[in-house]
């Protein structure tokens, strides 16, 4: 992909990354509208700094940073952040188009994941980021990113009801 700043058809570029970005932002936002606000601000900021869109780790780091700021702005959200830090948070729900009961159960199992595992999973599965990019976005090592991913899958497997 080209640089966002020089991409004439930025819509194509944005439409490719927007669903994953909104899903990623949704982990910290209560509503899709808030998540879209976060993505909008992050994307415009990213564009203004003329970062290379190929540097997706940076783009996701921008979304994450703005999402956390967004969370801190409001006291209620700050309280929510403290509860989100706990591993039993059930308030943040990714948005998916659910087609059957097995997918509903999968989404429910996703909600049970700790934030640090879920964000790695979201970046890996629905945004196709490499572990190097995830590590860059989250400022962790690649090994940590990979192990969080494995833990997330293991937890999902454990929490999913047997078919």
């Amino acid at each position: 992909m080209e640089n966002v700043a020089t991409d004439e058809n930025w819509k194509t570029c944005f439409s490719q990354v927007a669903p994953g970005l909104v899903l990623f932002a949704r982990q910290w936002a209560r509503s899709s509208a808030d998540a879209e606000d976060i993505v909008q601000e992050a994307f415009v900021r990213f564009w203004r700094k003329q970062h290379d869109i190929a540097n997706r780790g940076l783009l996701y780091a921008a979304v994450r940073s703005i999402a956390l700021d967004f969370l801190r702005r409001d006291n209620r959200r700050a309280r929510r952040e403290s509860t989100a830090a706990s591993e039993t948070d059930q308030t943040v729900q990714p948005m998916f188009e659910i087609e059957d009961e097995s997918q509903r159960a999968l989404v429910a199992a996703l909600d049970l994941l700790p934030n640090e595992q879920r964000e790695v999973l979201v970046m890996k599965i629905w945004n196709d980021l490499t572990f190097a990019e995830i590590a860059s976005a989250l400022e962790i090592s690649q090994n940590t990113a990979a192990s969080r991913y494995r833990y997330a899958l293991a937890n999902l497997k454990k929490n999913l009801p047997p078919i």
Binding site: N3, A5, T6, D7, E8, N9, W10, K11, F14, S15, A18, P19, G20, V22, L23, S32, E36, D37, V39, Q40, E41, F43, V44, W47, R48, Q50, R73, P94, M95, F96, E97, I98, S102, Q103, L106, V107, L121, I125, W126, R150, L153, A154, L156, K157, L160
Partner: protein, 194 residues
């Protein structure tokens, strides 16, 4: 990792809900504003951004003029330095005011402080009103008994050194004028023998 391939497949089949069309419009507006801001504020040579501006499609142009405004931008104030600055300024003003209004320190009065003399000031200080006269006796010496010429009654002579300070004040401007000078005073007190 093979243990998780099945669950990875299931996860990949989950499709995130696509973002609203409004998001695209808002981002478009945000980018347009950012581009406008860059062209306004940047004094440097042209960048690739300005050389190759983003072309908007017809629907996007319609949307951008359809009154769909981006979410209100929040202005962040850093209140701490502002508050500290204001507090410092207020303290400075109070301190200056206190310094200006602080009364002049009076020297310990060994003698009496007399009321202001009732005389009019010279023409140059016509607006100055007498504010007080202070006499400070800082040295007194008893010179013993003396007999004045052709007098049989002895008199005790006491010589005292004083400093007199006259003060005027202009009530309209608050300015004050002070004149201070040394003086010597000799007093003779008759002494009656028993």
């Amino acid at each position: 990792m093979n243990d998780f391939s099945e669950i990875e497949d299931k996860l990949r089949k989950l499709r995130p809900v696509p973002p609203s069309a409004d998001l695209m419009t808002r981002v478009e507006r945000g980018l347009a504003e950012a581009r406008h801001g860059e062209s306004l504020h940047s004094g440097k040579g042209s960048t690739r951004l300005r050389e190759r501006p983003v072309r908007l499609g017809p629907t996007a142009r319609q949307a951008s003029t359809a009154g769909v405004l981006p979410r209100e931008r929040r202005i962040h104030f850093n209140w701490l330095p502002l508050g500290l600055g204001l507090a410092a300024a207020a303290a400075l003003v109070l301190f200056a005011r206190f310094q200006l209004e602080r009364p002049v320190k009076k020297t310990p009065a060994l003698a009496a402080i007399t009321p202001a003399p009732a005389f009019s000031s010279p023409s140059s200080t016509a607006q100055f009103v007498p504010a007080g006269l202070t006499q400070v006796v800082y040295h007194t010496r008893d010179e013993g008994l003396h007999f004045r010429n052709n007098s049989k009654q002895p008199m005790r002579r006491v010589r005292s050194h004083t400093r007199e300070t006259l003060r005027w004040r202009n009530p309209t401007t608050g300015a004050s004028l002070r004149i201070s000078y040394p003086s010597e005073e000799v007093s003779l007190t008759p002494v009656s023998g028993q």
